[in-house]
């Protein structure tokens, strides 16, 4: 492989890896939005909170990683239950903007609780995920890929596959899709909206945990983790707010796009494209394809 091609491959791969993270955060958004029409501003903070809880449990109680993961999932389920109990059930049938504001409040509460319980210093997350570059046994190729990133991609892929089966094949998965489609009809067949909300927020919490672990393993668990949510926004505009495949593919496109732009366009415009590329792309989409990649074309009824 030529040097240039090799470099391109590396750039694309590292873009895909960043994209996986965006996809996961966007996936959390989409799940909650579909099932309850809530635009969850707190999704990013949920990543931070989940990772903080995981590290905190491991450090404070000296627990093995897998035990801490199971406990953290339980904590996220508890958080979901509390959110339903304290917030959602009181705000059903309110305007979306009110629910959105409620999730802003939620973001601050989660962040505060995380700080209070686990402290605000940067934490090192070590779940035993291999670090360093991958040894391909193809040293003559000189392809440099982080092991952590491979693990992240595989884990995310598995998670999405498990979720897909869950949604397609099980009663609860079907109920989730039913609620996303039509609240009244879902109620009429005896689906309980409240339990569905708890389940959906729990699943979003698990997705947040996976994203938080991946990001945290790379850059430490700290407040900036919650800011990946800002990158999820353009992903949603690209993929459409209600499309699961859209969230995944949108995340990958943005991840790869911003790395490519940084490397190949950056030198001409002075760099740091990575910071704003996603938003420019989203803007372009808003202008030319507002329904996103997979959304249905919206035709106003007159």
């Amino acid at each position: 492989m030529s040097q240039d091609l090799m470099f391109l491959t590396e750039t694309v791969i590292s873009g895909l890896m960043a994209g996986v993270m965006y996809s996961l955060v966007a996936l959390g958004f989409v799940l909650i939005f579909k099932a309850s029409g809530v635009f969850n501003f707190a999704q990013g903070v949920m990543c931070l909170f989940a990772a903080l809880t995981l590290v905190g449990l491991m450090e404070t109680f000296d627990l093995p990683g897998w035990v801490a993961v199971i406990l953290t999932v339980a904590v996220m389920a508890g958080v979901a239950w509390i959110i339903e109990w304290a917030v959602l059930r009181h705000l059903v049938n309110q305007d979306p903007i009110i629910l959105f504001m409620a999730t802003i409040g939620l973001a601050y509460v989660l962040e505060g609780v995380g700080d209070l319980v686990w402290g605000s210093d940067v934490k090192v997350l070590n779940l035993g995920i291999p670090q360093g570059a991958w040894d391909w046994g193809l040293d003559n190729l000189n392809l440099y890929v982080e092991k952590l990133e491979i693990v992240a991609a595989v884990t995310a892929g598995l998670l999405v596959a498990v979720l897909a089966i869950f949604f397609q094949k099980t009663r609860v998965g079907r109920a989730l899709r039913a609620v996303a489609d039509d609240h009244q009809a879902a109620l009429s067949v005896g689906i309980s909206l409240r339990s569905i909300w708890v389940i959906v927020w729990t699943v979003a919490g698990i997705v947040a945990l996976v994203a938080g672990v991946m990001w945290g393993s790379k850059s430490g668990v700290q407040f900036s983790l919650s800011l990946i949510a800002l990158k999820a926004l353009p992903v949603l505009i690209l993929g459409g707010f209600t499309s699961v495949p859209g969230a995944i593919i949108g995340g990958l496109i943005i991840g790869v796009g911003e790395k490519l732009a940084e490397v190949y366009v950056g030198p001409f415009v002075g760099g740091a494209i990575e910071n704003w590329f996603a938003y420019m792309l989203a803007l372009a989409f808003l202008l030319f394809r507002p329904q996103g990649l997979f959304g249905e074309k919206i035709i106003e009824r007159v």
Partner: protein, 262 residues
């Protein structure tokens, strides 16, 4: 199989009054439905027919009056409770899960009959899998019964209106309800579709013995297939009786002539 004889009172509405702001949708309505009966509610547009169904399955809570179902009396029944007690329904404006296949839509109807836990389902193992297959069998029977084989995997949003109405009936049937509420199941259909739907409604009543409350605009259909007819007009109860009694009721004739002259 012969039709099961009409039995005891299954559902009783007592003095139901419901208003929206200034609009009185229902004033002081009382009537009952007996086991295995095919009861119809008729009346002009805006008479309060749909509101009555919504009260029965808990979507609307009347300001006054109560519903007694299977001997249990409630003034504010929740939709979920109604479903648990065996009330299933269809909607005047089709309310299907548009993105899901016919099969999946019908499977949601069996929601309350499936019991595997969240955890079992998350791993899709043991009971969850067994349960899924068992209920799939039941749903396939309903698909056969309603002649929906050819579209079982099609997302319902892509099906023509008449077929969607049939799928909605199927979803309600999948719950094996003891009371089936049908809100204008034949509205907007052509003659052939209407006849098919009529046949299905009658078959459900005869073969499964399901008690049915049917709202229908088409007087001919109603008079043909129902055991008893309740007539509403502007939220008031105009008449209750057999099709013959209702047909010859002067008030009913006046109300309907009024409509015809609109």
């Amino acid at each position: 199989m012969a039709r099961q004889p009409i039995g005891d009172v299954l559902l009783k509405a007592d003095n139901i009054s419901l208003s929206f702001g200034g609009v009185k949708a229902l004033s002081n309505i009382s009537f009952d439905v007996r086991e295995h009966e095919l009861a119809a509610i008729i009346g002009p547009n805006g008479a309060g027919k749909s509101s009555m169904l919504n009260v029965i399955n808990g979507f609307y809570h009347p300001q006054q009056g109560q519903i007694t179902f299977k001997g249990q009396t409630r003034s504010r029944m929740k939709v979920h409770q109604a479903a648990v007690q065996g009330i299933a329904r269809t909607f005047q404006n089709i309310a299907l899960f548009k993105g899901m296949s016919v099969l999946d839509n019908l499977m949601t109807g069996r929601n309350l009959k499936m019991h595997s836990t969240m955890l079992e389902q998350a791993v899709y193992w043991g009971r969850a899998r067994r349960e899924e297959l068992e209920h799939r069998g039941k749903v396939e029977e309903i698909i056969d019964f309603l002649n929906l084989e050819s579209v079982r995997k099609t997302p319902v949003g892509r099906l023509p209106y008449g077929i969607q109405k049939r799928v909605e009936l199927g979803r309600a049937l999948a719950a094996e309800p003891s009371l089936l509420l049908l809100d204008e199941p034949m509205a907007g259909m052509n003659l052939e579709e209407k006849e098919d739907m009529c046949r299905f409604v009658l078959d459900v009543n005869e073969e499964f013995g399901t008690t049915i409350v049917l709202i229908e605009h088409d007087m001919g259909v109603v008079m043909d297939i129902s055991d008893r007819v309740t007539v509403l007009d502007y939220g008031r109860l105009l008449a209750v009786g057999t099709p013959d009694e209702v047909r010859n009721n002067q008030e009913v004739i006046d109300a309907y002539l009024g409509v015809a002259n609109d």
